[in-house]
């Protein structure tokens, strides 16, 4: 049973893949980029799910998949057009199929109402084209539903070896050439017949022509078999199941047809049979057979099947007497294993495969335990650190910078970087896995909001670290929800605005300067800045008279507690706002920005690191502490003129940057490293992006440089520390903390709300 469990697991893994394939294909059909192979792949996906489900008696799944498949079969054979409405039913069906698979896997209840509803929609599509042959539909289902069905089921094994004994059958078996062309073998079939009991076989070679006239692919021989058996007629018929159209087969029940008990005189029967056979053969065209001396060469064979029947039948002498054996060798094997046509070879197979151009060749992949990859990444991280340490010691030792040692270190540095990049690439995955979930999300949100949206995705093969992918799903989901719920207008409003009723959302991914950039753009209403501003004022997020740029207003939607909807909608009003999105993106070392045009739509841009294993950092110091700032957070650095700094209170200060005062965050003090305020005039200011999009100024003693650092978790052995996102190990082997800029600036805002940048606008 464990074997079955394993297969079951394989089945569900495979289902997941098939469902992905299905959805991808249906979406291609929807946007018109599908070709016939796409349709085939879609059909195959559902078919495959059905096939496996049948083996596990998942009847609901089989039933639904079957209906679904029947509709896809119509699409495949061009009997059903993929109108928008049809595709929508197909997409909903794929959702239901996915739900049924999940329910089957987890052995939980499925949503019967949804299944029934979508099934009806599918049936309706089937009904529309009912003029076409319902073909595969119903007769096929019987075989799949319930326990292992073997269709056509004629007899059970019990019937084959029934206790009620001696049936006697007379079987006439006259194959035609097609039987051999399909690699059936008369010998094998006869052997199987004899395995049911015991009997005699007579071969009729009367139609064998001269050697010169012999067509090696023609069937000249026929057989008469007298069988004594416990088996029924059905068991015999089943043996000939595959060849019922490639032979003439007569099965006569001698017990029924003969009143008197079966004669011992087998010879008489045989000659009767042969007479019949020859009668059938006499109208054959081999006219010049006068010279053949084996008109009725008959072979009588009494065979007990129990002792090694196979060997008996494998002997060439079985089919023909010795005289023929030498003369007409091929007769014994009319299936002609000898080469006849030379033009076809295995190469055709390859070409045929290419012709299908069904996409990429199968990729050669291996599955590796993630832990092994991470171990490798750790080790390479160590290598990088040691390489830096070594070159630093070499420099400290005063080795000439043009010496071979130093040049060697430079090569080593390049190599280690390359190794690091290659190792990182192992963890990289295409964003496809996240993008794939979006169409369903869009459908669901549309259904809930009554909007109509077409989703397009671009760059789904853009790769990024697995961890980033895993943590991208939630924010992206929320942004799409938001775009439909708040961005896209209702179809009526769109028509009023002179737009097509169906809204568009495009999600794209691309690599840009060492980061992955994901854009979510919609052609909805755009941000109504007046309204956003009014709401922000209402909620006390900004002072009534605040002087804000368009950009700053747009970014207000990322403030905690901001929601532009007066009444929270079912979907995006769950208290999860864009602030959470922004925070989770920032936790990944990413940034979100927004641009919007009233009436035209909005575009959100996420910029994320390609990996969470390394980070481009700015190395800064304050007191004895060396700290790392993620370079992505840094807007600019400046050495303040004393005139730009203004003391506020309690040692705190603000700095004037381009006509605006920005509060200075004394990082050492903020982190509790010291209680004495540092003098901003003595240090350096790093302007970082803060939550509001406005700058915040971080004060350090000095900037040491920029470097890629390996990210080490603090949480593994200690726990989360506010203001610190992780740690790294510097070239000198010491640990440096990586600052969590968001937390630093947020806690500043909470600690000192009077420093709200909007409250101190310079003239």
């Amino acid at each position: 049973m464990t074997g079955m469990e394993e297969i079951r697991q394989t089945f569900f893994e495979e289902c997941a893949e098939q469902l992905d394939e299905l959805e991808t294909g249906l979406l291609a059909i929807q946007d018109g980029s599908a070709d016939s192979e796409t349709v085939n792949a879609v059909f195959r996906a559902v078919h495959s799910v059905k096939g496996g489900a049948g083996a596990f008696n998942l009847d609901t799944l089989v039933g639904f998949a079957h209906t679904f498949e029947s509709v896809l079969d119509l699409v495949r054979s061009d009997r059903l057009e993929t109108s928008e409405q049809v595709v929508s039913v197909l997409l909903r069906s794929s959702d239901v199929l996915a739900d049924l698979v999940t329910a089957a896997r987890d052995e939980t209840a499925h949503n019967a109402a949804a299944v029934a509803e979508v099934s009806m929609a599918l049936e309706a599509l089937l009904g529309d084209t009912s003029s076409g042959s319902g073909s595969s539909a119903e007769d096929e289902l019987d075989g799949l539903m319930g326990d292992f069905g073997f269709e056509p089921v004629q007899v059970s094994l019990d019937d084959l070896i029934g206790p009620q004994g001696d049936n006697r059958f007379r079987i006439l078996f006259k194959p035609n050439r097609d039987l051999y062309a399909r690699a059936n073998e008369s010998m094998v079939l006869i052997r199987e017949v004899l395995s049911l009991g015991s009997g005699e076989v007579v071969c009729d070679m009367s139609r064998l022509p001269d050697l010169d006239a012999l067509d090696s692919e023609e069937a000249y021989l026929s057989w008469g078999i007298t069988l004594e058996t416990n088996a029924s007629r059905g068991a015999i018929e089943e043996i000939f199941e595959f060849v019922d159209e490639e032979c003439e087969l007569t099965i006569e029940d001698l017990n029924e047809t003969e009143d008197e008990p079966a004669s011992e005189d087998v010879d008489r029967e045989v000659s009767e049979l042969l007479a019949m056979l020859s009668a059938g053969a006499s109208d054959g065209s081999n006219s010049d057979d006068d010279e053949t001396d084996f008109d009725f060469a008959s072979v009588g064979m009494g065979i007990e099947t129990d002792p090694e029947p196979e060997e008996d039948f494998d002997e060439p002498g079985f089919a023909a007497p010795a005289a023929i054996e030498t003369k007409h060798e091929p007769v014994a094997a009319p299936a002609a294993r000898k080469p006849v046509e030379a033009e076809a070879g295995p190469k055709d197979a390859g070409e045929a495969g290419d012709d299908k151009k069904a996409g990429a060749p199968p990729s050669t992949t291996i599955r590796v335990d993630l832990e092994r990859v991470d171990r490798l990444i750790d080790l390479v991280g160590e290598l990088v650190i040691h390489q830096v340490m070594l070159s630093q010691s070499a420099q400290k030792a005063g080795i000439n910078s043009s010496s071979e040692v130093i040049l060697g270190f430079e090569d080593l540095e390049m190599l280690t970087r390359q190794i690091q990049d290659s190792v990182m690439a192992i963890r990289a995955q295409a964003v496809k896995s996240v993008f794939q979930k979006l169409p369903r999300l869009v459908r669901e949100v549309c259904a809930a909001t009554g909007k109509d949206v077409r989703l397009t995705t671009e760059g789904e093969y853009t790769e990024v670290d697995k961890t980033v992918i895993e943590r991208l799903s939630d924010p992206l989901t929320h942004m799409i929800r938001n775009a439909i719920d708040h961005g896209i207008e209702s179809p009526e409003d769109r028509i009023k605005a002179g737009k097509p009723p169906v809204g568009n959302i495009c999600v794209s991914a691309a690599h840009r300067s060492g980061r992955i950039v994901i854009e979510i753009s919609d052609d909805g209403a755009g941000i109504d800045r007046q309204r956003v501003r009014a709401i922000a004022v209402n909620k006390g997020l900004i002072p009534a008279g605040a002087n804000l740029s368009d950009d700053e207003i747009d970014n207000l939607i990322f403030l905690p507690g901001f929601s532009t909807r007066e009444k929270a909608s079912e979907l995006s009003g769950r208290g999860v706002g864009m602030d959470v999105v922004k925070r989770s993106i920032q936790a990944l070392g990413g940034r979100v920005s927004i641009s919007s045009q009233l009436g035209k739509g909005s575009t959100f841009v996420l910029s994320l690191p390609l990996t969470l294993a390394v980070l481009d950092g700015m190395i800064v110091s304050t007191g004895d502490n060396t700290l790392v700032l993620p370079l992505t957070a840094v807007l600019e650095t400046l050495k303040p003129n004393s005139g730009d700094i203004r003391e506020v209170l309690d040692g705190a200060s603000v700095i004037r940057v381009r006509e605006r005062f920005i509060p200075v965050i004394d990082v050492a003090r903020q982190l509790g490293f010291t209680t004495t305020p540092s003098d901003a005039r003595e240090g350096v200011i790093v302007l970082v992006e803060s939550e509001t999009g406005a700058g915040q100024a971080l004060l350090f003693d000095a900037i040491q440089g920029q470097r890629q650092v390996v990210i080490k978790s603090l949480e593994a052995n200690y726990g989360r520390i506010e203001g610190v996102s992780a740690a790294t190990i510097l070239g000198d082997g010491r640990v440096a903390l990586i600052l969590d800029v968001d937390a630093l600036t947020t806690s500043n805002r909470l600690d000192a709300p009077s420093y709200n940048p909007f409250s101190v606008a310079a003239e």
């Binding site: 074997g3 394993e6 297969i7 394989t10 089945f11 495979e14 192979e37 085939n40 792949a41 059909f43 195959r44 078919h47 495959s48 059905k50 096939g51 496996g52 049948g54 083996a55 073909s135 595969s136 007769d139 096929e140 075989g143 799949l144 292992f148 069905g149 073997f150 269709e151 056509p152 097609d178 062309a181 399909r182 690699a183 059936n184 073998e185 010998m187 094998v188 199987e192 199941e241 595959f242 159209e245 490639e246 494998d314 299936a335 002609a336 294993r337 000898k338 080469p339 006849v340 076809a344 070879g345 295995p346 055709d348 197979a349 390859g350 045929a352 495969g353 299908k356 069904a358 199968p362």
Partner: protein, 120 residues
Amino acid sequence: MKTILTIDDSRTMREMLRRTLQDAGFGVIQAEDGVDGVEKLAGSQPNVIITDVNMPRMDGLTFIETVRKDPANRGIPILVLTTESDAEKKARAKNAGATGWIVKPFDPEKLVAAINRVAA
């Protein structure tokens, strides 16, 4: 020992075939689609081939036609594995050169019986 070449794009089905056949004492060679099947066939001499019909790259019927074009392979019995049991589809399989068929989901005993009916 008789060797069976199984061709199916479904991992699940391949596994079920493999287990069933191995339990019945057959050797098993696996292929994932028609193209793979042709390649695997070139390096082996199976006694019977069992192939799925709906497969990417090269479907089962094309596979059978391809195999039958090679005179050396004309005598290899090919059973089609299918959920499609109606006459029309069987006829298409036969026209392509299939020896017989097995209806999915299969019963292990019936599978073995079907093989015995075609394997020399």
